[in-house]
Symmetry: C2
C-alpha cells in the first residue's frame, strides 16, 4: 500500500515533458518534486526557490508569473517564490499538498503549460544552490541504536547503551549558524585535545576528523511555546527530509564533552543536501516500525497505532569517499558504507513529540539531525569511528591509501534514495563536502 | 582606574535633565544608557528600540527624527531605531561608542536638545518590553568553578570537577527559540524522569524545577565561518551584558543528559532581562582576573596580558523569590543568594576566543549564558540545587514556607548592578519569571 496516493502524484506511470526526469535512475522524476533555493551561476541574481525536475530546476516565481498554477495553489506558490521556504512551511500540509499537485500537473506529459514553463526552467548544471530555509534551531538526535551501541562500546565497554536509550530519543542542541549547503568546503577545525598520557592539552588541527551519515528532518508547522505536539499529529508538522553530514572532531569531542555534551567538536560545520524531499513525496516508502521483543513498549506520549504500519521510512543511504589522490587520478569515489533509515530505533514523529513534550517551541525551518544512521551489520556503520574501530583498523582504499580518519582534500559524499517495486524511484541528490586544511 | 573614560560618559558627576536618572539607586543613570526594545502598552504600536534613562525610555527613532544626534552618530542611531538591535550590533564598537557619546550629551544636564527630546521619552511604567535582539544561536557556558564543583559533588562525589574544567570553558548549545523576556510566565515543563528504584520512567510535570542565576553575554560583531577570533580582540566583538535565568528541570536533566548533555531539561524557557548594558558602560567596573596558585596557566589562545588587569567584571548579582503566598500577603520578596560575576573562573573574552577557535561562526545578536554564577561561600550559590543540597535541605522562608525546588506561582527575580567608590552606580534592571502550572 502506498499511503495517500489520493491525488495521483505518486503514480509510477507518470512521465514528465522534461525528458531527463524520465531517465531511469534520475533522482528527480515527476513523482519527487523536492524544493530548493538557487540562482544562476555567474549572474547578478538573487536567490529564489525552485523545484527539481530531472536535470532542471523549475523557478517557482517564474512559473507563478506564467500563470501555471490553479487559483487554489497560488498562495502556496507565492509563499515559495522567495529565497527561502520558511513562509511556505508555515502554511501547513494542506497548502503543501495543493502545491505538489499543481507541480505534478504542470510538469507531467500532456500539461497545457509546457510551453510557458519551458522558459521557467534552469539547468541544474548552471545553478548555484543555497540553504533552502533559515534554520532557527538545529537539534541533533542519536536515534540509531546500532550507532549508539557501537560508539558506546568504544567509550564504555561495560555499558555500551545507557539506561535511558530505549525510553527516550536522546538529543542535544547543535549550532544553526554553521549549517552549510552541499559543496561548501569544510575547514579542518583547530581545537583542544588531551593526548593520552599528556599533562597539558594539545591545541592544533584535529587529527581525528570524521563524518556522520544522518538524515535531516525539516520542521514545517511551528508550535507555540508551552504547547506540546501529540504524536498522532506530529508528522503534519514536518515538511520533509534531506541528507545531513554531522562532521565531528573525535579528539576534540573526547576531551570537551563531559559533562555537558559535544560543542566545538561538532559546531564548525554541518552539511545538508540542497533538496528537501517532502513528507508527501515519501508516502510510498513508509514502512512499519518495529522493535525487538525485549525492547520496552514506548511510553504513551511516544506511541500511536500508526507507528507499526507506517512509522518508518524506507530510505536507502550511502557514503562515498573521494581522496585528493583518487581525484587527481580520475578514479571513481569508493563506497564506504550503506544503511537504511528504516532501521532507526526512533521515528521522526517520536522525535517531534519528544522534543515538544516540555512545551519547547519549534519554528518553521528548524532542522533535526537523525543521528548517525548505522545499520545492524558492521559494514553498515555511518562513521569512520565505527568503521575503523576508533582508528585502530584503518580502511585500505582501492588505490592503496589508508584512512583511519579524514585527510585534507578528502571529499565525503552522502547519497540517499527510495526505490522499490511498484513505486517510482525518488532520490535526495547529494550532501558533499571537501576537507580544507586547517588555518595556520 | 576606570578604563577608557576618554569621552567623559562615565564621569560620576554627570547628571541628566531626566530627574529620575539622578536618584540614588537608580539602575539607569546617564552613565549607563542600556539598550532595549519596547512599545507603549495598550496601543497598536510596533516594537522599536530605546535607551533607558531613569524611569523613562528614550525612543531612538523619535530622537533621531528630532535631530538630537550629531552627524557622526546618525548612522548608528538609524541602525538602532528598528525593533531589534542586530543592525546596530553589526556596526561595531566604533559606532556603538559614537552613539553612546551622543546619548550622553543629549541626556545630560544643559543639553540643548532637552526640549525636543522630552517628546521622545516614554515612561517605563507605560511600556511593554520585548527581546532586544534576534538571537541566532544561544550557547550556555559553565564558567563558575564554584557552581561546577558544587554540582559535581552532588553527581560525582569522587570526581566533582572533571579534568577538562581548568583547561577550557565548558559549554553546550542551548535553544534560541525559547529565549524570553523578563516578565514572561514560565510553564512548568512535563517530562520523562526515572524515579529512584523504578522500572519504568515517569512522565509528568517536573518535580524539581530550578532557576540558575547567570549573566547573559551578547555578541555584537560577527565572525565568518572558518575565522577564529584572537583573545586580544575578542571583547571588541561583544556588545554587552544582561541577566539570564537558565530555568532547569533537575529530574528531567538527571535522566536525559547522558551521553549528550542537557536538552528538554533546559530548552523550555530561558529568561533574559530587557536592557543590554554595553561593554563600554561597564568600563569602570573592569577588574583583574585571578587564578589560584595551583590553577594551570591558560593555554596561549585563552591568555593575554589584559586579563590580569581587566579581564573580570565587578558585577554584583542577586536572586530573590516571591511565593504566591507572599504576594497575596503583600510581603516583600526574600533574598535567596548574592554573588559576583568577578568570581567567574573564565572571562567573557576567553569564552569568545574558545567558541571561535574551531572557526565557529558567531552572528550579531548571539547570546551566551555564563553558567550559574555561584560564589565561594555556600550561601552564594546561584541555584536551589546547590542551596538545598539537591533538595535534601529545603529552605525555610520568612513566612514559614519551605522550598526544596520551585512551586507553581513562585516568582524568581534576578538583579544585577555595579557599584563602587568613585564611579556611578549602574544597574541591569531585573530578569523575572513566574512559574505557571503544567498543562494538563
Amino acid at each position: 500500500m502506498t499511503g495517500s496516493a489520493h491525488d495521483g502524484t505518486h503514480d509510477p506511470k507518470l512521465r514528465s515533458w522534461v525528458a531527463s526526469a524520465n531517465e531511469p535512475g534520475s533522482d528527480f522524476p515527476v513523482q519527487n518534486l523536492p524544493f530548493g533555493s538557487f540562482r544562476r551561476r555567474g549572474r547578478d541574481e538573487t536567490l529564489r526557490c525552485g523545484v527539481a525536475i530531472g536535470d532542471r530546476i523549475l523557478d517557482i516565481g517564474a512559473a507563478l508569473a506564467a500563470g501555471a498554477f490553479p487559483p487554489q495553489a497560488e498562495r502556496a506558490a507565492a509563499a515559495a517564490a522567495g529565497p527561502v521556504l520558511n513562509a511556505l512551511m508555515e502554511l501547513g500540509p494542506g497548502a503543501w499538498s495543493l502545491l505538489r499537485a499543481a507541480f505534478s500537473h504542470a510538469l507531467r506529459e500532456g500539461s497545457p503549460h509546457e510551453r510557458e514553463l519551458e522558459a521557467a526552467l534552469v539547468p541544474m548544471a548552471a545553478a548555484e544552490l543555497a540553504l533552502p530555509m533559515d534554520v532557527g534551531d538545529y537539534t541533533d538526535f542519536y536515534a540509531s541504536i546500532y550507532h549508539a551501541t557501537a560508539v558506546g562500546a568504544l567509550l564504555r565497554p561495560d555499558e555500551p547503551l545507557l539506561p535511558n536509550y530505549k525510553w527516550l530519543p536522546v538529543a542535544y542542541h547543535g549550532r544553526a549558524s554553521t549549517v552549510v549547503i552541499s559543496g561548501s568546503g569544510v575547514r579542518r577545525p583547530v581545537g583542544q585535545t588531551m593526548p593520552s598520557g599528556a599533562q597539558t592539552p594539545f591545541v592544533g588541527p584535529s587529527k581525528r576528523l570524521d563524518y556522520e551519515l544522518e538524515v535531516g528532518i525539516v520542521v514545517g508547522v511551528p508550535n507555540a511555546l508551552g504547547d506540546r505536539v501529540a504524536i498522532e499529529g506530529a508528522e503534519r508538522h514536518l515538511f520533509g527530509l534531506c541528507l545531513l553530514n554531522d562532521w565531528s572532531a573525535r579528539d576534540v569531542q573526547g576531551w570537551e564533552y563531559r559533562p555537558l555534551g559535544p560543542f566545538l567538536a561538532k559546531n564548525f560545520a554541518t552539511t545538508i543536501s540542497p533538496w528537501i524531499v517532502t513528507m508527501e513525496a515519501l508516502e510510498p516508502y513508509r514502512a512499519g516500525w518495529q522493535r525487538n521483543g525485549d525492547d520496552p513498549q514506548p511510553l504513551p506520549y511516544l506511541d500511536c497505532a500508526d507507528l507499526r504500519t507506517r512509522g518508518a521510512i524506507d530510505l536507502q543511504l550511502e557514503v562515498r569517499l573521494e581522496t585528493a589522490a583518487m581525484r587527481a587520478a580520475g578514479q571513481a569515489p569508493v563506497q564506504l558504507s550503506r544503511s537504511n533509515f528504516r532501521d532507526c530505533y526512533w521515528t521522526v514523529s517520536q522525535m517531534l513529540a519528544h522534543h515538544t513534550v516540555n512545551g519547547c517551541a519549534l519554528r518553521s525551518g528548524d532542522l533535526f539531525g537523525s543521528g548517525t544512521q548505522s545499520g545492524p551489520a558492521p559494514e553498515e556503520a555511518g562513521s569512520l569511528l565505527e568503521l575503523t574501530q576508533a582508528g585502530r583498523r584503518p580502511l585500505v582504499l582501492p588505490n592503496g591509501e589508508r584512512r583511519a580518519f579524514l585527510e585534507d582534500g578528502d571529499r565525503v559524499m552522502l547519497r540517499g534514495w527510495c526505490e522499490k517495486r511498484g513505486a517510482a524511484r525518488i532520490g535526495f541528490g547529494e550532501a558533499s563536502g571537501t576537507i580544507l586544511p586547517a588555518r595556520a
